[in-house]
């Protein structure tokens, strides 16, 4: 008899997935199952926190090394 596990399926590109896997590696309380390179099953109560952390991480990743000048010259 098959078993069913409840959770949230996340579909994302591999780069985003690797960030999530890295976030999970700290406390192992986000991912239930690593499905494939673009899919993860995660705990429903962690999705909100995950989105927050992902946002923080994306801000870091995409932050320019030099502050942008206010003037366009």
């Amino acid at each position: 008899m098959p078993r069913a596990t409840g959770g949230i399926l996340i579909e994302c590109e591999p780069a985003i997935k690797s960030i999530i896997v890295h976030l999970d590696s700290v406390s192992h309380d986000i991912i239930i199952e690593d499905l494939d390179e673009q899919h993860l099953l995660v705990r429903p109560n962690m999705v909100h926190l995950l989105k927050q952390k992902l946002e923080e991480r994306l801000k870091e990743t995409y932050r320019p090394e030099e502050p942008l000048a206010d003037s366009d010259g």
Partner: protein, 72 residues
């Protein structure tokens, strides 16, 4: 502020979430095939992987009933 808005859009476009159920531990490849076909037919199949014998559906009630009826 513009950058923050852009990042929000980035995340929302790059990540899609669906609540539901992951099915596993099938008795045979035939059972897996039958269940994924049925799930697709009733419009609840979100993701499947034949190699790993796993699939994900947005609702499980009809599949549960389908399994029960097959066992009789």
């Amino acid at each position: 502020v513009v950058d923050q808005i852009r990042l929000w859009q980035l995340e929302n476009e790059r990540m899609r979430t669906t609540a539901g159920y992951l099915f596993r531990d099938f008795e045979s490849p035939a059972e897996f095939a039958a269940l994924t076909a049925y799930a697709e037919e009733i419009g609840v199949l979100v993701w499947k992987n034949e190699k790993k014998n796993l699939f994900f559906v947005s609702k499980y009630e009809q599949l549960r009933d389908y399994l029960k009826s097959r066992k009789k």
